[in-house]
Symmetry: C2
Subunit: 336 residues, 2 copies
């Protein structure tokens, strides 16, 4: 983002008909969007897009989720039919939805499987999630999807996730990149019971032992302990930043991808805002590590981009404040 | 709100295509709207209305604000011209704006002065804010405005405030109703300096000494230490509750009126949600006292309904989730 434009936005805020600074975080967010767009006042969003990256995870077979893997493909169909939370929240926020099957175990509609890299990712507690070629293909898929969206006019992006078991590799990646212990990153995901929690913690521990062999190499981590969907999200987030397009981050899975993307392309995080703070403990580790302050703290844990989309209207309002409010001079109000 | 409908909304949430409870606070808010409407699924809002109650305060002459009283009438003109934060945020949230001059010092357009009770309210550190008749007239004005809006089809209401000096009587009312000391309720308002803070604290202390003579009588407090605009807001909030219409509360001034309304008509608070937590310290006293959990914590301190309107799209999204998402059975997804 352009710091000179950010300064101009802050100066403009002081001329709008309100006490200086009285809109608090809304002023910060508006100035950030202006800096991302490189223009002040910023332009209200014209094409907000959410891309849901879908993929299954071999580790789900070990009972780390409350749902079976078949739900991933069923939910992809639900997204296409318009019945899921992401559809409702996107419509409410003025955004449209794209679904990308990167590694769903089952079959999905041809319109969403163009970038499919493989069928499910590996059992990360005993094998690599992906081959080196698959990792590269998934990263490339994410970058290409970002390019397509930005070339298509998207001016604000959201990444969402769908994949039974995906909080397990996410927790591993976050633990590996921050030196955190398994018990501090394991969460209840979709709602596992205590036995499931124990299985999940053991899976994270074993996968983390394998992951630590690659050190801090972000691409190596995606290959060893990530998954194709998470790699694609990382590519998408890094490319959005390279293309100077702001992104609203969602919860722990997108957060794990964001941490990897920041390692691959340092400074990318300047182009991201945190939509919310998830209940997953590893998500708070991500927010602290990336120094991102969530817009909402709503106890959400769905994924699909749901938290980001719930926050998007707030970001949109922040943009409109700078674009549409009168100045003291315009309005003939004293004290500007 | 209807508890039986709330239970039905909670049961419906468990059938929608997402893990039970995974939308966190968004689920609570949706269930609350269903309970307010007495129907599940709830209907998305069709007519969101914000009413900005404008009034001046004699105490402003004592230097408790960073702005002169003339700004109140100038801002009313700005609201009518569409250039203020409330206009931009209302439009962004799909709401429309009504302005009611209850006690502005200067002259305002006839279309907004129908309910004007007097010109500015009294210097509360030495005299009553209002006569008994004026207090009754202001309460009645607020109730009538609520009736007009609800009869006109409003299904969600926001109260906003505009009035230089209005955080001073608000702090006094909040302190009087909660037994809080002046230094714990005084804030920077529009942005006063340290000298202004000292003057404001002294004004609150002196007004509180007068207010304590009426004890906990809410109407007596409005008369002694409130103001016509705040009394009108209290009438509006109590009447909205009586008419079973949900309200999104704003910051400290609306919060003071809400505390008074809850004293006048206990249980009214069940019909309100807190849009945000203001930086004014007295606002946190209000939220704790009314046991309301803010949607946003954004460091805002503008008034005008700005915090409530920034949060309104979140409430709207919560309503749509219950109204529009597919169930597990509809979508053919396993695990419902």
């Amino acid at each position: 983002p352009d710091d000179e434009v950010r300064e101009r936005a802050i100066a403009r805020h002081a001329q709008l008909t309100k006490p200086a600074g009285s809109l608090g975080r809304l002023e910060e967010l508006g100035a950030w969007i202006a800096a991302c767009q490189g223009t002040c006042p910023p332009k209200p969003f014209e094409r907000a897009r959410v891309v849901v990256f879908a993929g299954d995870h071999g580790i789900a077979a070990e009972g780390v989720s409350a749902y079976p893997s078949e739900v991933t493909a069923q939910m992809v169909a639900n997204f296409l039919a318009g019945g899921a939370a992401v559809n409702v929240l996107a419509a409410a926020a003025g955004a449209t939805v794209r679904v990308a099957d990167i590694a769903v175990a089952g079959e999905t509609a041809p319109m969403v499987s163009k970038y499919k890299v493989r069928t499910s990712s590996g059992l990360i507690d005993r094998e690599d999630a992906l081959s080196a070629e698959e990792t590269a293909a998934a990263l490339r898929a994410g970058r290409e999807i970002a390019d397509e969206e930005i070339d298509g006019g998207a001016d604000i992006l959201v990444a969402g996730d769908m994949g039974i078991g995906n909080t397990t590799p996410s927790a591993v990646l976050i633990a590996a990149l921050t030196g955190t212990e398994p018990v501090a990153v394991v969460g209840r995901g979709t709602g596992i019971d205590d036995q499931g929690w124990i299985r999940k913690t053991a899976a994270i521990r074993d996968a983390l032992r394998r992951a630590r062999k690659v050190g801090a190499d972000p691409v190596g981590l995606l290959r060893t302990a990530g998954g194709a969907d998470i790699a694609a999200m990382a590519g998408f987030l890094a490319q959005a930043a390279a293309r100077r397009t702001p992104v609203v981050l969602d919860g722990v899975v997108v957060g794990a991808a964001a941490m990897v993307a920041e390692e691959m392309a340092p400074g990318s995080r300047e182009w991201w805002v945190a939509g919310h703070r998830s209940v997953e403990p590893a998500h708070t580790v991500v927010l602290d590590h990336l120094d991102l302050k969530p817009i909402l703290d709503f106890g959400m844990r769905l994924g699909e981009g749901s938290g980001a989309l719930t926050a998007l209207p707030v970001l949109s309002a922040a943009t409109k404040i700078l674009a549409e409010m009168a100045t003291f001079a315009d309005a003939g109000v004293s004290g500007g």
